[in-house]
């Protein structure tokens, strides 16, 4: 399997030149291969969002290296990074972050218009990805006219339309009810299994995390536990995740 992302000794310190610097990440290593579906979990303040922001180029690390698709993103200029993002990465946010003044079709097309594709190519690609995600009947509508699940599907379509190397999803089900949440995760699983889409997801929900193939548990800026699904059933994998999550609480009772 080809390596999609390799993060080595990633560190992030806030307030570096002040009297009270805070080290949010303490040297985390991570390798993501093609077709991986990795989930990051951890308690509040553990650094999971900071980690995902750093490795997805939204934030700059204060130490370490992040190589995506063979390119060191920590050495890139702003221009190179901007181009790199829309060509190689797809983002899915908790609150969808669709642009209210654009139709669903135009929202999905945003990364393609940055890539300077022709209008015909853009329309074709948008229709193809929308059909795949079952939202082709919504293309002319505005986000406010769609349900939460539909909006998140539109956000996923936007993330996929440029066929990125890596999809980064930060709490993608945070604003959805349980039915829609499971529907979205089944979609993620389908994209990963059938189309080989590589996914990196952050969630606080163990049930949502159980859809992944590998779980990384971060605590106090360090990688504490790694759990791989391998041949386990989703139920077994889920219980192992719950166990890892509640380990700290269990220690309190010992």
């Amino acid at each position: 399997m080809d390596e999609v992302l390799k993060a080595t000794g990633v560190e992030k310190t806030y307030g570096l030149h002040t009297k009270q610097p805070f080290k949010a990440l303490k040297g985390i290593d991570l390798t993501i291969n093609e077709n991986d579906f990795i989930c990051i979990m951890g308690p509040s303040g553990s650094g999971k969002s900071t980690f995902i922001n750093v490795i997805s180029t939204i934030d700059n690390p204060t130490g370490g290296r992040v190589v995506i698709g063979g390119q060191d993103v920590t050495e890139m200029t702003e221009e190179q990074l901007g181009r790199f993002k829309y060509e190689n990465l797809g983002f899915i946010f908790q609150d969808f972050n669709l642009i209210g003044s654009l139709t669903i079709s135009e929202n999905i097309a945003v990364p393609l218009s940055l890539s300077h594709k022709s209008k015909q190519e853009i329309i074709q690609d948008v229709e193809a990805v929308a059909k795949k995600l079952g939202i082709d009947h919504l293309l002319h509508k505005y986000p406010e006219e769609c349900s939460g699940g539909q909006r998140q599907r539109a956000a996923i379509a936007r993330a996929l339309v440029n066929q990125p190397k890596l999809i980064v999803a930060d709490e993608p089900t945070g604003n959805l009810d349980s039915e829609n949440s499971h529907e979205i995760l089944r979609l993620f699983k389908q994209l990963n299994d059938e189309d080989g889409v590589t996914i990196l997801m952050v969630t606080h929900d163990s049930m949502i995390a159980s859809y992944s193939k590998k779980l990384l548990f971060i605590k106090d800026g360090e990688l504490e536990t790694t759990i791989e699904k391998l041949n386990k059933t989703q139920k077994e994998y889920y219980y192992e995740i719950v166990d890892a999550n509640s380990k700290e609480s269990q220690e309190l009772f010992q």
Binding site: I99, S101, L114
Partner: protein
């Protein structure tokens, strides 16, 4: 720490926010003072207690606009306080405590601004009287202050204070904490009632005056009345016609990422500033008409010209407040765009395009009427070309300056937080 001390502490820490609000109150107060003195100036034959002449009605209009400007400044000030109000409410402060918090800040600012406003108004009044007496060959005391005018100014300003106090108290009471917390960050599309009138109707209403301007008699009042027909069309276009045009343009700009986003933002801005834009457009057309009517009457021309300048200034600052308020809710959008791969220079280009198009609309509508109107009078020899050009520049320049300010504030607010 009590509400009073906390309120004063926050006022000290938020000096910049308070400064512009205070400045608006100073300006509004001084304008109200000057124009009430004009309405009741015995040396000019004006009296509050007698039937009002056209210029007195004009002065009253200026006073209303000055009050409206203070209201816009107040709503801008309060909108910057939503987080504080929300946190106070969440911490258990009662509605009265929150209202008290706002009242203390408001009274401190007003307590400083209004006396300064009266003081500056007194100085302005001297220069105002100097010019108007000179243009009317009146010899009188330029430091004259009408007692009735002063009383009326005080009553209007006190009414303004009470109204703003009630509005601010009511704001904290009726707005939910969650809404207060998200107010500064959310772009919410205002729901509008569906309009069944076809858009072409508004375009026709807008175009009718342009055709009639070439046909009607050379009477400024006729031009003004005909323009009012067009204003109905402009209102409809601002509300719905331009939005439809924007949607159409967006479709053809699918490959131009900057334009796509800028057009989308423009439709939001048009919806929120539509009413203000209508007032400024109508004011410009009306005042140009009034100036032409009084072109051979120096006595009234001076006050009309001065009122024109003040209206342009007040309306430009009101629109500036509104636009800054609206654009400050765009931070979430621009953060998402940055994450998607937009560069900072592309984000700046989007903001620049949006502001240019918005102010382009503000300039386009009145200019399309005024240029034709003035051209007819210039050709007929009733108005000098240089004077006509000056009248147009008198609104174009201030609006362009406020456009620049709006862009710089917009850019600074967004880029600093990405």
């Amino acid at each position: 720490m009590g509400t009073f001390k906390f309120s004063l502490k926050m006022l000290r820490l938020d000096f910049k926010k308070c400064f512009f609000y205070g400045l608006s109150l100073v300006l509004s107060t001084s304008i109200i003072f000057v124009f009430f003195n004009y309405i009741d100036n015995i040396y000019l034959g004006n009296s509050l207690s007698e039937k009002s002449g056209a210029n007195q009605i004009l002065a009253l209009f200026i006073i209303i606009i000055a009050c409206a400007n203070a209201c816009f400044a107040n709503s801008f000030f309060i909108s910057r306080k939503t987080n504080e109000i929300a946190i106070a409410s969440m911490s258990g402060a009662s509605v009265f405590a929150v209202a008290g918090y706002l009242l203390v800040q408001n009274f401190v600012i007003m307590g400083l601004s209004i006396p300064i406003g009266f003081g500056i108004g007194y100085i302005f009044n001297h220069f105002f009287n100097l010019f108007i007496y000179a243009s009317l060959d009146v010899v009188a005391n330029t430091y004259y202050v009408s007692m009735q005018g002063l009383i009326m100014s005080t009553i209007v300003i006190l009414t303004q204070i009470i109204a703003l106090t009630l509005v601010n108290s009511g704001y904290a009471y009726r707005t939910e904490i969650k809404t207060l917390l998200n107010e500064q960050e959310s772009m919410t599309k205002k729901s509008t009632k569906p309009i069944k009138t076809p858009v072409i109707f508004y375009w026709i209403l807008y175009l009718i005056p342009i055709v009639l301007f070439f046909i009607v008699d050379l009477d400024p009042m006729v031009f003004v009345v005909v323009s009012c027909i067009g204003v109905f069309g402009i209102v409809g276009l601002l509300k719905i016609g331009l939005s439809k045009l924007i949607m159409f343009r967006q479709k053809s700009h699918l490959t131009k990422s900057n334009s796509l986003i800028a057009y989308g933002n423009l439709s939001y801005s048009l919806k929120s500033t539509g009413m203000l834009m209508t007032i400024i457009i109508l004011s410009i057309i009306l005042f140009i008409g009034l100036i032409i009517i009084n072109i051979n009457n120096p006595k009234d021309l001076f006050i009309v010209l001065l009122s024109y300048g003040i209206i342009i200034f007040l309306m430009s600052t009101s629109i500036l407040y509104k636009i800054i308020l609206e654009t400050s809710t765009r931070l979430g959008l621009y953060q998402s765009l940055f994450k998607l791969g937009y560069l900072k220079k592309q984000l700046k280009a989007i903001m620049r395009k949006e502001i240019m198009m918005l102010y382009g609309v503000i300039l386009f509508f009145p200019t399309s009427y005024i240029v034709i109107m003035l051209s007819r009078f210039v050709i007929a020899g009733e108005v000098a070309m240089s004077f006509a050009a000056a009248l147009v520049l008198a609104y174009v320049i201030p609006i362009c300056i406020t456009a620049l300010i709006a862009y710089f504030v917009y850019k600074r607010t967004i880029i600093a937080n990405i």
